[in-house]
């Protein structure tokens, strides 16, 4: 008989029996939802609204994205979810020469405060959560200043911003800043939000974006925990109490096609997190121990071949998430391999969530797999493997040296290589790719949607150019000098300086540039534009 493994390489037996969980103690290892160690859920869910239904959106200039979000809300979305285009994620303004050709094609372009006002104009930011896949520092400052302009008390803002200073630089969205500044900006965003937007999760550990390079669940969560632990220690060293900020830590995890493993990943994460916060960081507030987990289903699991099959993949992944008791989900859409989601794909993603919740009764009972010989055994194994890898990574020593030395990048690139190899040799089965393939000329269904391309948003590029020329430059320069001064010192929280910069008319690209200068880096990593304040 051929031995079977999970996607992360955990051996599977054909049958699990009582002896596989003979040592399992309900009270200490599982407990009811809402009870330590929160394996079965961070709270007992009753009735409707089991999770936040949202779809990742963002296209063109902020007003186009605003309309996109309004359409999704009209279709029944219960949380807003926006992603910046690749220049925004990389802290480049739309009119930067390297950004012009891609502005607004893979997300929306947010360069200045007015862009945030345009993005949120007329949207219920006071009553619906706003999830942002944006650079945390600028995202928090943008939402905060927009709320002020809209007359919304920032204290009522709910939602999250992804915060991943360790891994983005080399493995996802590079912002061309040194490790120390990346960590400082991430930590500043959390500290700022803790004080000014106390209901907002500015510490959303986004393991999705690293995972989708091809990492398995153990690698994904181990890297995530290493980052959470580092930022937690940073915040403690600033004099914050663990219970001041831990309730606002959340995870955004990947959800792959390996169904039971995905469920074990989330259950193990809740338990590990609770134990770590209680035993290691001495958190007392129960909310500090119960971590919110949201998930984005794997874009990597989606295929360019026969895109209709991705609807099935999204459904299976969403089902695993519903059974795991996540707080929110976003389904990678059927056109994922080609583009940012089309209107049609958004609708299918949202309808998938609605069908699951309303028609299947899947969320009526909390943690339905609790006590399963197999799931409990797998949860234990996943937990052990994640923690072993966290300890192994921390044994390398100082995280800055580890990051700069390429240890994290190696883990990620090796995983990417392994994934490509497994797809090529068929170890990882993928229908339409390495099993049951169809000739390209017969693969026509949904091609019209998937092959429609989004043009660069020249409108936004022009708008930013005009804006740049129309500003009170004395005011802009002063705010940039102030921010540079703050960044040159160790202590000041840079988010206050970014908010002031936004109000004065400075752009994200300019503010990022002067902060790079304060850390001895070039203002523009591509050496194409110069700093308005010289230096």
């Amino acid at each position: 008989m051929t031995e079977q493994f999970t996607q992360a390489g955990i051996p599977l037996k054909p049958l699990y029996k009582p002896e596989d969980i003979a040592d399992l103690d309900y009270d200490t290892q599982l407990a009811d939802p809402g009870q330590y160690p929160f394996t079965r859920g961070n709270r007992l869910k009753t009735g409707k609204g089991a999770w936040i239904h949202r779809e990742l959106s963002g296209e063109g200039d902020p007003s186009i994205s605003n309309q996109q979000i309004k359409n999704l809300i009209a279709m029944g979305q219960t949380g807003m979810d926006v992603i910046g285009d690749s220049p925004t994620q990389g802290l480049m303004d739309a009119d930067h020469p390297i950004a012009e050709k891609t502005a607004g094609t893979q997300g929306t372009s947010l360069c200045r405060q007015q862009d945030y006002n345009d993005l949120f104009n007329g949207l219920p930011i006071d009553s619906m959560s706003t999830s942002m896949s944006l650079p945390p520092s600028f995202g928090v400052a943008g939402l905060f200043t927009a709320a002020e302009d809209m007359g919304v008390d920032p204290a009522v803002l709910r939602g999250s911003v992804v915060n991943g200073p360790f891994y983005g630089e080399e493995c996802s969205y590079a912002i061309h800043m040194p490790f120390k500044l990346r960590v400082r900006l991430g930590t500043d965003a959390i500290e700022f939000a803790t004080k000014k937007m106390p209901k907002f999760h500015a510490f959303l550990e986004d393991t999705y974006f690293i995972a989708d390079a091809g990492l398995n669940i153990v690698e994904e969560m181990a890297l995530g925990f290493v980052e959470v632990r580092h930022l937690t220690r940073e915040l403690l060293s600033r004099g914050l109490d663990i219970d001041d900020f831990a309730p606002r830590i959340a995870f955004l995890v990947d959800c792959r096609m390996d169904f039971f493993e995905a469920i074990a990943q989330i259950r193990a994460t809740r338990r590990l997190y609770a134990r770590m916060m209680k035993e290691e960081f001495n958190a007392k507030d129960p909310r500090s121990l119960a971590v919110n987990i949201a998930s984005h289903t794997s874009g990597l699991s989606m295929t360019a071949q026969q895109p209709i099959n991705n609807v099935v993949r999204g459904t299976v992944e969403a089902m695993a998430l519903a059974l795991s008791g996540v707080q929110a989900m976003e389904i990678s859409t059927f056109d994922e391999a080609y583009r940012t989601p089309s209107k049609e794909a958004h609708e299918v993603g949202l309808r998938t969530q609605q069908i699951l919740e309303l028609e299947t009764n899947v969320s009526a009972v909390n943690d339905p797999f609790g006590g399963s010989y197999f799931i409990e055994s797998l949860t234990n194994e996943v937990e052990t493997r994640i923690w072993d890898m966290v300890m192994e990574l921390e044994a390398h020593g100082d995280n800055e040296k580890v990051a700069d030395g390429g240890v994290f990048r190696n883990i990620i690139t090796n995983a990417a290589g392994r994934y490509a190899q497994e797809m090529a040799d068929g170890t990882l089965k993928k229908v339409g790719v390495n099993a049951f393939t169809v000739p390209e000329e017969e693969d026509k269904l949904l091609k019209e949607v998937t092959s429609t391309k989004i043009e660069p948003c020249t409108q936004q590029v022009e708008k930013i150019k005009e804006f740049r020329a129309s500003r009170n430059m004395d005011q802009v320069k002063q705010s940039l000098k102030d921010l540079h001064g703050m960044a040159s010192q160790e202590k000041p929280n840079l988010i206050y300086g970014i908010c002031d910069g936004y109000r004065a008319g400075a752009t994200m690209g300019e503010m990022a540039g002067v902060m790079r200068q304060a850390y001895g880096r070039p203002y523009d990593p591509y050496q194409m534009v110069t700093s308005p304040i010289g230096l």
Binding site: S86, P87, Q89, G90, M92, P97, I98, A99, K101, T102, T105, Q106, C171, S172, Y173, A174, A213, G214, L300, T303, A304, Q305, A337, Y338, R339, T413, A416, G417, Y419, A420, A424, V433, T437, E440, E441, K447, T450, S451, K453, I454, P456, P525, Y526
Partner: protein
């Protein structure tokens, strides 16, 4: 001894996706070729200058954004201006059969979409490196 094929692999503009480029680099290295890995954030001029300096037999660009559409003319014209006949290959799951026709009409030597097999890609790259763009 026969000289090894020398191939540059890179990503254009602000396309942040690197997994495809890394997989391509690994695949060609495993096939015995020399890969000059140019990573991300390259504009056409940089790709041309690097190709000239490294004297590569082929330029491979991994595409997971639509920036190739904006830069391809600049790249092909730039190569022509420097009288470089190095073949250019684009690869990425986003590239459809229609995109392939359009790009090859602009002088791109080959386009690999989602369904290209490793064997086919290695064989084609090998042939292009030997024959040049012509």
């Amino acid at each position: 001894m026969e000289q090894r094929n020398k191939v540059s692999i890179c990503v254009l503009g602000m396309d942040q996706h690197e997994t495809g480029a890394l997989a391509a680099a690994r695949m060609l290295r495993d096939a015995g070729m020399e890969v000059i890995y140019g990573g991300r954030f390259n504009l056409p001029n940089k790709i041309i200058d690097d190709a000239l300096q490294d004297d590569v037999d082929m330029i491979g660009i991994s595409c997971h954004s639509w920036e190739y559409r904006e830069y391809i003319d600049e790249l092909m014209d730039g190569l022509k201006a420097k009288e470089m006949d190095v073949p250019v290959v684009l690869a990425g799951s986003i590239l459809s059969a229609e995109d392939r026709d359009e790009l090859m009409g602009k002088g791109v030597a080959e386009v690999f979409g989602a369904s290209a097999t490793p064997e086919h890609m290695i064989e084609t790259v090998d042939r292009l490196c030997r024959d040049g763009a012509a």
